[in-house]
């Protein structure tokens, strides 16, 4: 079976690298985008098994990305994890309402990221 494809979307290079490093070690194929708009471009071309996105980004933020994905037939069912430092319920609810699958609060430990990824992406 070919590796699952994950798209990590974050304006912080450090975070993207962290996610990519962790998941690559766990056998996923990881690609990176630095904001929602870039992610949309990638999603138009590629098929991803999971999108992991930050909320707070320039140009197009995480919620807008989730909404845009859910409104596109192609990405309607793609699992989306929101990765953010904002742990408050308000943000989680907004993420859910927009159509996010799950969330992970930064700072995460790598094991937890792998677990959660497995939970939403076979």
């Amino acid at each position: 079976m070919s590796a699952r494809r994950v798209l990590t979307v974050d304006d912080s290079r450090t975070m993207r690298n962290m996610v990519a490093f962790t998941l690559r070690n766990a056998g996923y194929a990881v690609e990176e985008a630095q904001d929602g708009a870039e992610a949309i471009k990638a999603l138009q071309i590629g098929n991803y098994d999971l999108v992991i996105t930050d909320l707070n980004m320039p140009t197009m933020d995480g919620l807008a990305l989730v909404r845009a994905m859910r409104a596109t037939p192609r990405n309607r069912a793609t699992p989306i994890l929101i990765l953010t430092t904002e742990a408050d319920a308000e943000k989680k609810a907004a993420g859910r309402a927009a159509g996010a699958t799950g969330w992970l609060v930064k700072p995460f430990n790598p094991q937890r990221l792998i677990e959660i990824t497995a939970k939403v992406c076979a």
């Binding site: 962290m18 197009m60 409104a71 596109t72 699992p79 700072p107 497995a118």
Partner: protein, 682 residues
């Protein structure tokens, strides 16, 4: 694949960028040129640092950024107003953040109360804006399941997802798989709600499961499996009595739950978001026009191009004797090569070039802070911030520039009352400009302050024994005495510019990057510092000199003057060897042929040329060489990297004739001087 160290390095690199950005944006906020997005952008910068810091376990950094973020958040939500106090608080916070980042990067331990005052002030400011504190602990963890290890128990889990569970990308089967990993699971589906095919919506979920799980995992862990679907399902968790393994009927709770699941709450609506579906192609991100390259790769490229330029020079020189008639194509080819090599070199240098803005952008704040501290009213006007120079030069430019600005405010600009009395506007002006001038970058710092009092400078220099009494000096020479080590014009040492470093350090820094510094000043009307810097450190303006059959390069930035001494100017001085008497001053004579052991060189200074150079700390030396060959730009090759450190030699280069020439490091030359024990044969 990248390792953790690389990610760490990326993090620190990114922090530096983000902090630089934040500082610049705060500056815009302060002077009112901020745009709508400014606050958000600063927030994002702090936020990103916090995210990375958390990932690496830099707790202090996380705590500090969290407080800053809370304040920023209250600003961008309009709960607090960005007053001058708050901006200056944030500016200090960004500074402290820089220190915290640096401490993590270098592994330094900061005092435990570091930044406490700023944290307190920020918390206060954020609370003033909000009725209640906004955020508490950063990165709150899931409640830890306290308690001892439990023996396996059996529990019964009822899992009834709502029909729209798929719509958020959740997949019940994955959840069940996870659950099965926690112990021994018996999973039974309830298909009773499955409609007939014609009524079935393939995007809805109709199944309900009952799971009998034998596990040691605490309940919290079981619930965590369902964390993403808990709002989209009906979940029951119950302990089963251990002995009685109840295979059938599922607990009563479930059918009841079934009833509440009911019909889809929201019909599978063509969501209103559909209208927005085509919108994501908004403004393309501006960053996509640039790529990020490891500086080492660029350095390697610069180096290779340097080699290419040398090879090209060798070819050019070798072909200079050839006749155009006999080798027209070869010569045309070599000419083309020369031109392309030069262009290539310029292009490669341009990759490393950065606008001086990164250094200039820190200055307005420095001016503001210092002016406030010293009770001056100063405005700064900057021009040419977009002038580009080599990254390495920029990195070394910060310190001298900062010091000169401090100096201009502390010693140059008078207090407002004094200015009014002198008939000047109360507000002093400092101009900072950068421009390209004949292959170098020239940075000027001028102020309309009190200027330099030459009489005072002269008296001070005499009293400190820096110059002989009654020395015959031009106005310019007197002015430039302030660059001598041990000279300080301030009557009393202030805590601003009198930090034990003087203009001599500035001059040394500037010279270290192959630059020159000059000061013009008119007493009463102001001063102007002119810094002339090379565009890159990889290329050096040198004077090619011959000693015996050897060729050496003396960096032009060190050279003060060249002369051929008369016999009477050379005098032996006990303990110093020979000295050269020059306009009332004595300068140590350094016979380079003696130091480097070169046979057949000119030994009588009166038959050779003496090059007066100035090294670190303004110490002058008179270097004896056979003759001057000419001035030339040379590509600097590190000798330490390829061979080892040599006293008095700063590097090497390859000349057009293919021969290697060593580049003198004037500042380290005098240490290399052997005891002058040689017979002074004429």
């Amino acid at each position: 694949m990248e390792g953790m160290d690389d990610i760490r390095a990326t993090f620190f690199e990114e922090c530096a960028e983000l902090l630089g950005n934040a500082a610049e944006l705060l500056g815009q906020l302060a002077d009112g040129s901020a745009g709508d997005d400014t606050l958000h952008a600063i927030f994002r910068a702090v936020h990103s640092i916090k995210g990375g810091a958390g990932a690496f376990g830099f707790t202090r950094l996380v705590e500090f950024t969290h407080v800053a973020e809370t304040l920023m958040d209250s600003l961008r939500n309009g709960r607090s107003a960005p007053t001058e106090e708050i901006i200056s608080l944030l500016v200090r916070a960004i500074d402290s953040l820089g220190d915290l980042v640096a401490a993590e990067q270098t592994g330094t331990q900061l005092p435990s109360n570091f930044g406490a005052e700023i944290v307190a002030a920020m918390t206060q400011a954020a609370n003033d804006g909000a009725d209640s504190p906004i955020g508490q602990s950063a990165g709150s963890r899931a409640p830890s399941a306290a308690g001892a290890i439990q023996s396996p128990r059996q529990c019964i889990i009822g899992f009834a997802p709502q029909p729209q569970v798929f719509r958020n990308g959740n997949e019940p089967i994955l959840i069940l798989t996870q659950l099965a990993r926690l112990g021994e699971a018996d999973i039974q589906p309830d298909l009773s709600r499955l409609p007939n095919l014609d009524a079935l919506d393939p995007e809805d979920s109709y199944l309900v499961w009952t799971i009998h799980l034998t596990t040691i995992a605490p309940e919290a862990e079981l619930r965590e499996v369902f964390e993403f679907v808990e709002d989209d399902c009906r979940l029951t968790l119950a302990d089963a009595p251990p002995p009685a393994i109840a295979p059938s009927p599922p607990p009563a709770a479930l059918p009841a739950g079934d009833a509440t699941v009911g019909p889809p709450q929201a019909p599978p609506d063509p969501p209103p978001a559909a209208a927005r579906a085509e919108k994501p192609n908004q403004a393309p991100s501006p960053q996509t026009r640039s790529i990020r390259v490891d500086i080492e790769k660029v350095d390697r490229l610069v180096n290779l191009v340097g080699e290419l330029v040398i090879t090209q020079a060798v070819l050019l020189e070798q072909s200079s004797g050839l006749s155009v008639d006999q080798h027209p194509d070869l010569l045309r080819g070599i000419e083309g090569l020369s031109q392309h090599a030069r262009e290539l070199q310029e292009s490669v240098m341009a990759i490393r070039a950065q606008p001086v803005k990164s250094v200039f952008s820190r200055i307005p704040r420095l001016v503001r802070d210092l002016a406030a501290e010293l009770g001056r009213d100063v405005r700064i006007i900057m021009t040419g911030e977009n002038t580009e120079i080599d990254k390495t030069v920029i990195e070394q430019l910060g310190d001298p520039l900062t010091h000169m600005i401090r100096n201009a405010i502390d010693h140059g600009i008078e207090p407002p009352a004094e200015r009014m009395a002198a008939g000047k506007p109360a507000q002093g002006t400092i101009h900072l400009s950068a421009e390209h001038r004949s292959g170098r970058i020239v940075i000027e710092i001028s102020d309309d302050g009190r200027g330099i009092n030459r009489d005072q400078v002269r008296r001070k220099a005499e009293s400190k024994g820096l110059i002989p009494a009654n020395a015959n000096l031009s106005d310019d020479e007197i002015t430039n005495l302030i660059f001598l080590p041990g000279f300080s014009t301030a009557e009393k040492v202030s805590n601003v510019s009198g930090r034990g470093v003087g203009m001599d350090v500035v001059k040394r820094n500037v010279q270290a990057m192959g630059g020159r510094i000059n000061l013009e000043s008119r007493f009463g009307t102001g001063s102007r510092f002119t810094l002339s810097l090379p565009l890159t450190l990889a290329i050096l303006d040198g004077m090619v000199v011959a000693i015996g059959r050897q060729t050496y390069i003396i960096p032009l930035s060190n050279i003060v003057e060249n002369l051929r001494p008369r016999a009477g100017d050379i005098r032996p001085l006990v303990g110093y060897g020979e000295v050269l008497a020059l306009r009332g001053d004595y300068i140590s004579l350094v016979p380079l042929h003696g130091i480097f052991g070169i046979p057949g060189a000119v030994t009588n200074p009166c038959n050779g040329i003496v090059v007066i150079v100035e090294g670190d700390g303004g110490k002058r030396l008179a270097l004896l060489v056979d003759e001057l060959i000419g001035q030339q730009q040379v590509v600097v090759k590190s000798i330490e990297e390829n061979y080892g450190s040599v006293e008095g030699i700063g590097g090497a280069t390859i000349l057009g004739n293919g021969r290697v020439a060593l580049i003198l490091d004037v500042s380290r030359l005098r240490c290399a001087r052997p005891p002058p024990a040689q017979a002074q044969a004429a």
